[in-house]
């Protein structure tokens, strides 16, 4: 009961009912039932501030950026570069350290290629962990194959935390980069990134953090963290799809070759030789996703207006409330029980396949994700076929969790 009383008070502080009015999709029905959207770790819903900004962009600004001589091109360029500043300010980084990408996946691929080209040689080592999303595994496997380098893994514990002592043992003079997630997409575990960075930096090893699951839930200060690379996706941060961000320290970016060749990334092209532009444009070949780049700043403005502290508090209460209710259901086992978690709860029900649960929840209007969540090595470690994952955003409510629990009980009774 404790949690409920406390949460109601916070609920008022956040004013979830008013916030929900900003998200038109939350008021739709699926299979005749009011939608309950608990798949926020896959992608978040968009507030009107974002939806309207997309509309406004095409009605008032649309034009190609940079090198334009005319009014609209300058307007688009200004907004595009203003957005870079907003993103930079949000992360406490300089705009020239902010590179627009298609998403987290492309950001990691960019580093794996360009950093790899500059700094990774035969026999070198890259450290990742067993709880990475495939996007933070495959690019490094590709790099290691290309360079004959070696990929090392930080193992995880039964409750879904990184084995930090093992990690420290992996760090060696051969290690060229540590690439781990800030928050696990499958488990919600918030990893001890300060400790990871400190240990790696003590041996002069740079660190890349996959922040896709962190940025929507907490304030990230790249300067304070002293992290070398940090990346996230716009669509998980209530912004558009097709836009992501790579933060990189200038000292690295300046030494890295381009990822792709084309327009924007060049200084001068002759048929014999091309000189490359300075970062960030060096890494932004071709016409970028101008609309999404500009609108991402509106999404950041929106969450900052609400306040990430308030968001984190409400989401944490939702997590505790859901965890407590789920633990009471017979046969439910929560996968990922680290003490520090974002609002992600992954679980399995004894004797029932996660996809069956997902199908029957969907019929009751509830959107969850089932399967391996693009983290097959982690799922294999737990020796399970996958999980049911409910992931909450600040616009979710305690009432929705109550309905979800009821629907889950119904699904279990049908499947048992």
């Amino acid at each position: 009961m404790d949690i409920v009383i406390k949460s109601t008070a916070l609920n008022k502080e956040l004013d979830v009912e008013t916030i929900r009015k900003d998200f038109p999709i939350l008021h739709t029905k699926v299979h005749g039932q009011p939608l309950i959207y608990f798949d926020n770790a896959a992608t978040s819903q968009k507030p009107l501030a974002v939806i309207n900004a997309i509309d406004t962009y095409y009605k008032e600004t649309n034009s190609n950026v940079h090198r334009g001589i005319h009014y609209l091109s300058n307007k688009a360029t200004n907004e595009f570069e203003e957005s870079r500043k907003t993103i930079g300010t949000h992360l406490n980084a300089s705009p020239e350290e902010i590179i627009y990408t298609r998403g987290t996946t492309e950001a990691i691929n960019l580093v794996a290629f360009s950093f790899g080209e500059a700094f990774v040689k035969i026999g070198d080592e890259i450290i990742i962990s067993q709880m990475e999303h495939h996007s933070n595994i495959v690019p490094w496997q590709m790099l290691c194959e290309r360079k004959n380098a070696i990929l090392k893994f930080i193992p995880v514990t039964e409750n879904g935390e990184l084995k930090m002592e093992e990690f420290k043992k992996l760090l060696s003079s051969k290690t060229k980069l540590v690439a781990v997630n800030h928050v696990s997409n499958t488990l919600g575990t918030i990893n001890p990134i300060e400790e990871i960075i400190a240990s790696a930096h003590a041996k002069n090893i740079p660190v890349l953090l996959d922040g896709a699951q962190a940025v929507p839930h907490m304030k990230v200060d790249v300067k304070k963290l002293d992290v070398d690379f940090y990346c996230f996706s716009g669509h998980k941060l209530f912004g558009p799809t097709g836009i992501g961000v790579l933060y990189g320290k200038s000292k690295w970016l300046n030494k890295m070759p381009p990822y792709q060749g084309g327009g924007e990334m060049i200084k001068q092209v002759t048929l014999e030789k091309t000189t490359y532009n300075e970062p960030p444009l060096r890494f932004e070949a071709g016409t970028p996703n101008i609309e999404a780049s500009i609108v991402l700043a509106r999404a950041i403005d929106y969450i900052n207006k609400i306040g990430l502290d308030k968001i984190a508090k409400h989401e944490h209460d939702l997590l505790l409330y859901a965890t407590e209710k789920l633990e009471k259901i017979e046969g439910v086992r929560i996968i990922g029980t680290a003490p520090h978690k974002t609002s992600v709860v992954s679980f399995i029900v004894e004797g029932i396949h996660p996809s069956d649960i997902g199908t029957l929840l969907d019929k009751q209007g509830i959107a969850v994700r089932t399967g391996h969540h693009c983290t097959q090595p982690l799922i294999d470690f737990f020796k399970i076929p996958g999980t049911v994952r409910a992931s909450f955003a600040f616009y979710n409510t305690f009432e929705e969790i109550d309905i979800f629990i009821k629907a889950l009980n119904k699904a279990i009774s049908m499947l048992k």
Partner: protein, 142 residues
């Protein structure tokens, strides 16, 4: 009974379940009565790819007719494969290959037909048809 007759029979059967819950309870029931695949066939070669859950399918040719057995670790998926098996089992490759399985749409399960759908009904149907094609080739060769 022809493929079409079985399809019609299934459509009639599902008509008495207008509620999603009853419909899925029925699918689960079908899943529980699927002709059980011999354990030795539950291997990589018999696994249908494209499903979030594991599905194994085995077919056997008897006098030019194909008979199926299957299993899945997910019961709804097993029910869906059960429905398809019920329609196809005991038929010749010539009968199986052109069937368009319109019953799936009629009983309101078309949402499971999307190619990326996690329970992979589309993958199962594709596998059954490929298998029928292979069996047909075998018969012609004989």
């Amino acid at each position: 009974m022809s493929i079409e007759e079985t399809e019609n029979e299934i459509v009639e059967e599902f008509e008495i379940f207008p509620e999603w819950m009853e419909k899925y309870e029925h699918i689960i029931e079908i899943g529980n009565s699927v002709p059980k695949i011999d354990e030795k066939y539950k291997d990589e070669a018999h696994e249908i790819k494209g499903c979030q859950s594991k599905v194994w399918l085995h077919s056997e040719l008897k006098d030019g007719h194909i008979f199926y057995s299957a299993d899945s670790d997910a019961i709804i998926t097993k029910g869906l494969v059960g429905l398809v098996i019920r329609v196809f089992s005991g038929h010749t490759p010539e009968e199986i290959l052109p069937a368009n399985l319109s019953f799936i749409d009629k009983i309101g399960l078309h949402e499971h037909l999307s190619p990326t759908r996690s329970n992979g009904l589309t993958a199962m149907i594709k596998q059954i048809k490929l298998d029928a094609l292979a069996q047909q080739a075998l018969v012609t060769k004989k």
